[in-house]
Symmetry: C2
């Protein structure tokens, strides 16, 4: 494959679409990215890709499928921190920190590209713009965790669910999956419960209420926004923290 | 001041101490940092340094004093996301994002160095190691927000308070403030309440319980660890997410 062809292939990937939302990627940015992105590994559902407490772990860029990051507390309870979709980094902290401070597990079959600490530092040395884009992506991830903090601290169960479904929709659209009407969603009610700090029974009830109010339907693995505007209003959803309005850095 | 003297001065700053926990800083890293760090601005208590929803905001590196970052929800309630101490970035997202997605306000009189988007990109182009160190610092901040998420989702009021006080202690020690016996802490019970998702009355009760159990005393602006080990045990405090064991990147 010529340099030019590689760049065209990577350009359509979720990874490039996501970073291109912040930085207009040059040919050399794209070729550094495609070197990393072309190495693929496959992972099965339920087998940890990253283990809390282990050292020398790699990070991954997710090429296809969904994963979730979670923490196990000393008492054995689990808190889901976030879900990852194509284009997202998995375990960026586990490559920067001495030991991984969380687990990452595939929810569906996953293809991902491994990124070692050496890859990351080498890429940054070659293209500082890419470093900035990765910093932006990490900052966006932090912004999402902040929103989940606000969820648990200050939002009602229905507001949390609405906010979460809108956020996933916006993230997926950015990488070319789903549209304003909805998206395919592999999450079980148990996973939603663990992420939103609700019981599975409560998740079921909230989803029924949202459906009966004509706002949102989640059935047969598909989220449908029945009334997108009313949902945004209910959730107090402000897209600013996702910042998807085209590259800031030209 | 000669190049060498500047580097020596910056080396003792909280900013350099913090980043040096991840990257062994070279002479040229230090001189890029000291250019940024020497420009100082002063801010008064209660006057926002960064405003949610505004665009083109700078970031700051905190040189002295404490600040807090918070979000105002559409209904007007406030959620404190984190507190910032010397050496921390304030509003890194507000320089990377189109609009700031949170507020930052001094809790004590503050001295801080302004960092524009241009400064950041320029520094990254000159020293990719510094970019990696900033990415690490941003990742550590995310790890702390994750812990606060776990606080709200899964920890009791006493566990939250213990975890929070230990985390602040570890962060302060890293930048040369306080020691294993305790630290000066300017936080009111109202600020603690807003950060931990408790009422001020509840904060008062939890602090009394911790004091009466011989674990921790917070009085007259000073936190004293009466029994550090028992506190670590109660909180399930695992320092891995702060990663303070010396530079990973040599």
């Amino acid at each position: 494959m010529t340099q030019r062809n590689v760049a065209i292939a990577i350009q359509d990937s979720p990874f490039a679409r996501k970073l291109a939302a912040f930085v207009r990627l040059s040919q050399s940015d794209l070729s550094v990215m495609s070197e990393i992105y072309q190495r693929r590994r496959r992972f099965s559902v339920g087998v940890d890709m990253i283990h809390q407490g282990q050292s020398g772990q790699s990070a991954f860029v997710l090429a296809s499928g969904w994963a979730c990051s979670y923490k196990i507390l000393p008492g054995g309870t689990r808190q889901i921190v976030d879900f990852q979709i194509p284009g997202d980094f998995l375990g960026l902290r586990s490559v920067l920190f001495r030991t991984a401070d969380h687990n990452v597990e595939p929810i569906t079959p996953v293809q991902a590209s491994e990124v070692t600490q050496h890859d990351l530092l080498d890429a940054f040395a070659r293209t500082p713009r890419l470093a900035t884009a990765v910093l932006w992506a990490a900052s966006r991830d932090e912004a999402m965790v902040v929103e989940h903090l606000v969820d648990l601290g200050r939002r009602s169960a229905a507001e949390r669910m609405a906010h979460f479904m809108l956020e996933m929709g916006a993230r997926l659209r950015l990488v070319g999956i789903g549209d304003r009407t909805g998206y395919a969603c592999p999450l079980s009610q148990y996973l939603l419960a663990d992420a939103l700090g609700l019981s599975a029974v409560h998740v079921n009830r909230v989803l029924r209420e949202l459906r009966e109010s004509g706002l949102l339907t989640f059935q047969k693995g598909r989220v449908v926004f029945d009334d997108h505007d009313a949902l945004v209003e209910l959730a107090g959803f402000d897209r600013a923290y996702l910042d998807h309005d085209g590259p800031l850095l030209i």
